[in-house]
Homo-oligomer: 218 residues x 2
């Protein structure tokens, strides 16, 4: 069997389990967000700001994906939401089977929104459907405006782009309009948000989008 055949079989198997995950989440009316980004773009901080704001208004749960450690799960658990940690032990992306196993460990009944924080990696997670409702890419202003051109696959499959660390804009040579244009070149349908977890700017708009999407499923 060639390597390409093996790869195709792995992806086919993944897609089959992703379909099962999606069927389960739809049955339970759970809006599931697959959060994707480079390491250190602020996915977990962004999630913390959302949990702070929407707790009491939305029943939420979290799956944390990490190569090593449960540091992110510990951060998120402080907000009192159910959290399942997946440690990939070197694996560079989440797969549908890992998410399926995590779903079993979560009390999903009544949950309206599930955040799945993927491994920090702007390449590999693009190929693996987890059964989520939407994919959201987070990029920080410090990463440069060329990233959608250099890593197009992940921007192409995403429904929304959150541009984080907007507070650092005055100290960077970063051109926000260039990033927006590059992102839309790759994916013209991309919804875009600009946030800062330090100042709180843009978090309300981002939460409104999530609330809108989650409530349209109830």
């Amino acid at each position: 069997m060639s390597i390409i055949t093996i790869e195709r079989k792995i992806l086919e198997k993944n897609d089959e389990i992703a379909r099962q995950n999606r069927a389960l989440l739809e049955k339970l009316s759970v809006f599931a967000i697959n959060l994707l980004s480079s390491p250190g773009s602020g996915k977990t901080s962004l999630l913390e700001r959302v949990l702070e704001r929407l707790i009491g208004r939305l029943k939420m749960a979290v799956i944390e994906g990490d190569v090593h450690t449960d540091l992110d799960a510990q951060r998120v658990a402080r907000y009192g939401v159910p959290v399942a940690q997946i440690v990939t032990h070197g694996g560079c992306h989440l797969e549908a089977k890992l998410v399926q196993d995590a779903l079993v460990r979560l009390p999903l009944e009544g949950i309206q929104t599930l955040f799945i924080e993927n491994v920090g990696n702007l390449v590999c997670p693009a190929n693996f459907d987890l059964g989520e409702t939407v994919k959201v890419v987070v990029i920080s202003t410090t990463e440069g405006e060329d990233k959608p051109l250099k890593y197009p696959a992940i921007f192409r499959v995403a429904h929304a782009l959150v541009i984080n660390k907007m507070d650092l804009l005055p100290y960077l040579s970063f051109q926000l309009e260039d990033l927006r244009r590059n992102a839309l070149d790759v994916n013209p349908a991309l919804a875009m948000f600009e946030t800062s977890c330090m100042t709180g700017a843009g978090i309300d708009e981002w939460c409104d989008w999530l609330l809108d999407r989650a409530s349209s499923r109830l």
Copy 2:
């Protein structure tokens, strides 16, 4: 054949070609640096500052690895050094074979230092020996102090860590000492440098280390 067997065979094949690359580079007395980091930590900017400073003192060449585009090769070529671009077309890391093909395209005679800028990815490139002399990880201050704990493999195989974007420190909650401690916990032998491509701080120390290493091979 199982997936694990296939993976082992891929890595064995890679290691064999890496040995050939290493033998060639040693024969030509080329000091080769495999530059590793997340997307957007400033690998290319750091390389530009080094080229600016060391041109005329050191004969250098560059291999640029990218998932898509030759934007980085264009940036580097402006400094008048030989550059070979590898585009992986979706591939998440450089492999020894890709580097071998690039080495053939470069005028290596007389070159003292070769920079190999890997694909922006803090996970997958750790497993693939390219035949380099040293591996150097670049991390930006905006990525957070927990990265060595969350992505230990790449810090474990590295010889040096460059902490970049030091100019942003006043605007971040980043704890430099925590990053240094976490990195040394994973790899006590790690040489560490603190740089800013915006202000030029620390670039001289980083260049001195490169010069030292390169000249010890002549």
